[in-house]
């Protein structure tokens, strides 16, 4: 046997072994993922499939009647528009308020940040009724804010800060802010401060360093936070129903009425399906523009 033959044989053997190992490793992943996959299948995929099936049947008859109604009656498209507008507005507000907050939390000591984080999370743990009444005390016609402003002579008439869009945005932003702050904070904590020091060292001003180093690195957090807030906001209705005006109706409210009083499950399913589809389309566009998959994969 020549040395070459021996070497070739060994390489062949090794490649088989490594391939086997690789296979085993992959099998291991699959086994580990199996419970989650099953859970998703049973609790997520199956209900969605059921939902879609429900939405195209009337009794035992296949029909697209429910979808036709959504498109033909003004109300549903108008309410869908309101729903997406409110969700977008809330996302922007959360971004404007949440980014500096996350930046601040990321720049203090971890222990302090954890303590401050509790303050961010408190509204999330508070009953919606308590929260709404708290806002009522502050915002209503004869509420605390209006009384202060009147006494200070800044206004002559009480401002209307509740039972309109302002009330909805205040209430929803209050609840959803943690969903922006938490992912943004997690990403910002992971940014190596040495990178900023390097930028200063190379002559960047603090603002330049922020804009060209910190901000791009924090983008995955913002993207994740915005998406979370936006999608959660789409399903709200108790807050807009309690703090909003008559025009601030969101789609979840109509879905719920169909179930609660009309007992029309197929139509409710169709409304939910439309909301789901539009959300997925928006997600796809968002992903295309921002490359979410890449962002979540890399960045930190």
């Amino acid at each position: 046997m020549t040395t070459g033959k021996v070497l070739a044989e060994r390489t062949y053997q090794e490649s088989i072994i490594s391939r086997r190992l690789e296979l085993r490793r992959q099998l291991g992943y699959i086994v580990l993922l199996l419970p989650t996959l099953l859970l998703l299948l049973v609790l997520f995929v199956y209900p969605i499939a059921r939902l879609i099936v429900t939405s195209v049947y009337d009794g035992n008859q296949f029909t697209l009647e429910h979808y036709r109604r959504i498109v033909e009656v003004d109300l549903y498209l108008r309410v869908l528009r309101t729903t997406f507008t409110i969700a977008l507005q809330v996302t922007l507000l959360c971004l404007i308020l949440g980014y500096p907050l996350a930046y601040f939390l990321a720049s203090v000591r971890a222990r302090t940040a954890r303590l401050l984080m509790i303050l961010v999370l408190i509204p999330f743990w508070t009953s919606i009724l308590v929260r709404t009444y708290a806002w009522m005390v502050l915002l209503q016609r004869q509420g605390v804010f209006n009384r202060w402003l009147l006494e200070l002579g800044l206004i002559d008439e009480p401002l209307r800060m509740m039972y309109n869009r302002i009330g909805v945005l205040v209430g929803m932003t209050h609840v959803l802010l943690p969903f922006m702050v938490l992912p943004a904070y997690a990403v910002m904590r992971g940014i190596d401060p040495n990178l900023l020091r390097a930028a200063y060292n190379l002559g960047a001003s603090p603002f330049q360093a922020f804009l060209r180093v910190f901000l791009p690195l924090s983008l995955p957090g913002i993207a994740a936070g915005s998406l979370l807030v936006f999608i959660l906001a789409l399903g709200f209705f108790i807050t807009p129903a309690l703090m909003g005006g008559r025009t601030d109706m969101m789609i979840a409210q109509l879905i719920e009425t169909q179930i609660r009083t009309q007992l029309n499950f197929p139509f409710a399913a169709a409304l939910a399906a439309v909301l789901l589809i539009i959300t997925l389309v928006i997600f796809a566009i968002y992903n295309r523009l921002l490359g979410l998959d890449k962002m979540f994969g890399g960045g930190y």
């Binding site: 009724l129 009444y133 004869q142 309690l242 719920e256 009425t257 009083t261 009309q262 499950f265 409710a268």
Partner: protein
Amino acid sequence: MAIDWEASLRHLERQGRLRRRQFLRALLASGLTVVGAPGLIACAGRQQATPTTAPAGGQTPAAASPTAAAGGELKVAGYDNPNKWKGKTLVFAGFGGAMQDAQRKAVLEPFARLTGATIVEDTTDIGKLKAMVDARAVEWTVAQQGTFESRVLGKQGYLEPIDYSVIDKANFFEDVAGEFDVAVIYWSLILAYRTDKFGMNPPQGWKDFWDVQKFPGPRAMDKVDGPVGNLEFALMADGVPKDQVYQVLRSAGGVERAFKKLDEIKPHVTVWWEAGAQPAQLLTDGEVDMAQAWNGRIDAAQRQGAPIAIQWNEGLLRTDSFIVPKGVKEKELAMDFINFATRPEVQAELSKYIPYSPTNAKAFDLMTEELKARLPSAPAQKEKQLLADASFWLENLDRLTEQFNDWLTK
């Protein structure tokens, strides 16, 4: 699963009108929001609420009535065999909250004591009821629902027909004995106003509610009931006598007339309320001077000393029903329980704990005048009001809710 909590919450709140919302809100707060296509879960089967009560802000101590304790144990004519249902179990699904607390004391415990039945409690939910019947695994013996919803369920084939050979309907008010449901309480959507604002010259009905010249001040109206109530009130404000309201609504142009009248009040409504607690709170805080409200909430606020009064004139009387899911095992027990719950003694007892009102006329013979004055179906109040027409709404609720929401959001 925000939507899911919220859906149940709204549903129960509307049905129950007292405190139920708070307990679900507490659930909501604890379990708020997991992502997902909103609405999905609501359709795929609604979550069941665990029958716990959690106190939250603004609840109403409606169940606090010292008179209830006096007089010893409740006796009910015809129920004198403590072994009648021995060994049998009745599962009762109520609305939870203050309502079910009251029912426990006035209905469930006496029934268990007087018949020997074991009683298990749960919380009612339309989705769950449908799922149970579809799966042929009915857990509940008797459930409570709004009468409209009960009639829809009956029509959709989810309920057992009521056996009136067991249930004595001799003294029931009109439209209480349904084919698939028996109405067990009355509640009322009424006009409430601040006495310090209109005490000298109170609004007499919806005409005055609509009259912003004679009765200036911000108003709150009910959006959670959608068109139900609002259309009736608009027609009465437009001069239709209360006994002709449904005739006009059924006639051509009647609905349009109501919406046209609603247009007039639209700019003067500062709050469209969604939760039963809201109108009482808004009136108490002076945010509005006049509101549509559920009588139970106003009663509770009055007892806390709020300067609010109820105008019973032209109020809308509505009912909640007991129903029996199709395929129930203990059908005879269910019917006997409903009969028990509609006896005058039992209904009079229930009203002591919560200001919802008997559907058996004889119950008023067993009450003090003071209590009668607070109840929507007591003769003096009942004759001033309009009874919601379940058959009209059963036919038109879907279409008119759509039209109302369209009108509201424009």
